[in-house]
């Protein structure tokens, strides 16, 4: 018998006071919004982790897995706070592994299948560029709990954006083959990006109390960054509307999310409460 088994250290978090957590009226929207943040990083993290062991070169394989790791780390923080706000005894793991597809709040962009490296990298770049603006704004959130998560995540996401911007330029302005693939990926993904900037009642409620920014306000800076990189990459910005595919944030997903959850949640569904 070890002393460790007897008196395992309890782990708690040193948390700044945040009056928003006690606001009963705000609770449903706050919970939903935190799930959007956490589900975006969870599902994109899962997609990137699917490349582990399949990357075209070792460095890219490692980079994708490490980026996925950062995103899963962000998920633990966002869904952890969501569970706390909800206050029904659920944990971040419960939210990740025991919710069904219609309860997921991620944008459709992040659940699309990986396709080839071009699609994977273009998707990550378009998301990173949004994620960077969003976290920059959230680091100044009126909610101290949201602000500290955003400040932590922002450092890592800056690094992600630097990496994907670099690769978009190298592959867009690369060989004929890589250029075509990057342009195809951009054309395919563009109509999914608008969902990230389209506010509904939940986003408006969060902006009203000063927790989150007005989503449309992020668009100009996002476009400036995206345009600069696409220009340098010799890629043409699509002329199609960018907000065609929506609904993920409200739980109306593509068929692809169900397949992700079937794989991701299998163990907890088959062996409830299993842990290591």
């Amino acid at each position: 018998m070890t002393a460790l088994a007897d008196i395992s250290a309890q782990e708690t978090a040193a948390r700044p006071d945040d009056p928003h957590l006690a606001d009963a009226e705000l609770k449903p929207a706050f919970f939903d919004w935190l799930c959007r943040m956490g589900d975006n990083t969870l599902i994109l993290g899962h997609r990137l982790s699917e490349w582990c062991g399949h990357g075209p070169v070792l460095e890219e394989d490692i980079a994708l897995a490490n980026t996925a790791l950062d995103l899963i780390g962000h998920t633990q923080m966002w869904l952890g706070l969501a569970a706390e706000v909800e206050d029904k005894g659920r944990s971040a793991d419960d939210l990740a592994f025991l919710r069904d597809a219609m309860k997921f709040r991620n944008a459709k962009l992040v659940e699309l299948p990986n396709g080839d490296m071009a699609l994977t990298l273009m998707r990550e770049f378009l998301f990173d560029a949004w994620h960077f603006e969003m976290l920059t704004a959230l680091a100044k959130s009126g909610s101290p709990r949201v602000a500290e998560i955003a400040a932590k995540a922002l450092k890592e996401v800056s690094y992600h954006l630097e990496r994907t911007s670099d690769l978009i330029v190298r592959l867009g302005d690369g060989t004929e083959e890589s250029h075509h693939r990057m342009q195809d990926a951009l054309d395919r993904l563009w109509p999914y990006t608008g969902e990230l900037f389209t506010a509904d009642a939940v986003d408006e409620a969060m902006a009203k109390v000063g927790i989150a920014p007005v989503l449309a306000d992020l668009q100009a800076a996002w476009e400036r960054n995206v345009n600069e990189v696409l220009d340098e990459a010799t890629l043409r910005k699509p002329e199609t509307r960018f907000d065609v595919h929506q609904g993920g944030k409200q739980g109306r997903h593509t068929e692809h999310l169900g397949y992700i959850l079937a794989e991701m949640q299998f163990l907890q569904r088959a062996y409830p409460g299993a842990s290591w």
């Binding site: 002393a3 782990e11 490692i62 980079a63 923080m77 500290e148 690094y159």
Partner: protein
């Protein structure tokens, strides 16, 4: 029964003996992730900050801190996770930097952690690197980045163009 509790300074010294699980030449205090040590009544409270959000070593570090303190007779212990201010490589001590270099890992360049990205972006647009990364073996500054990610999330891969050795760089952010 009266028990004399070890001083906070004593506990800092003990934690200076706990190695980082992935880079065992430096301790958790060299790494700058132990933020606070205090007594809450007869419970020892140790505040730890994660290096990277998804760092898989976090749980192992907590366990290593706990078992080391148990060996020194600490009975009541609480580990606190502290997020802010977020950790950057600026928190790595000078001693930690020296140990890293000796081990073959280029230490973070002092003072670049907080604004490394902005400088990197400006430098990239100007077509040059902002960071002077010294080869930990021959000390040449004539080095190049191979990959943004290395053997762990906290490192990037570099190569020395003089002695031709590849090496890990403890990245800045």
């Amino acid at each position: 029964m009266s028990v004399t509790l070890p001083s906070v300074n004593q506990v800092w010294n003990w934690l200076g003996e706990v190695p980082d699980p992935e880079i065992p030449v430096i301790s958790v205090t060299d790494l700058g992730i132990v933020r606070d040590i205090r007594w809450d009544g007869d419970t020892l409270v140790v505040a730890v900050t994660p290096t990277y959000s998804g760092c898989p070593a976090t749980a192992v570090i907590d366990l290593a801190i706990e078992s080391h303190l148990r060996e020194h007779g600490v009975r009541k212990l609480r580990l606190e996770r502290r997020l802010s201010p977020p950790w950057t490589t600026d928190w790595v001590t000078q001693e930690g930097r020296d140990k890293l270099r000796e081990y073959g890992i280029a230490p973070p360049v002092d003072g670049t952690a907080s604004d490394g990205r902005t400088i990197a972006r400006a430098a990239r647009l100007a077509g040059r690197s902002n960071l002077m990364i010294e080869c930990p073996r021959c000390r040449s500054a004539n080095t190049e980045r191979i990959s943004q990610f290395g053997s762990t999330p906290c490192k990037a891969s570099y190569r020395c163009k003089d002695c031709l050795e590849p090496f890990d760089y403890f990245k800045c952010h």
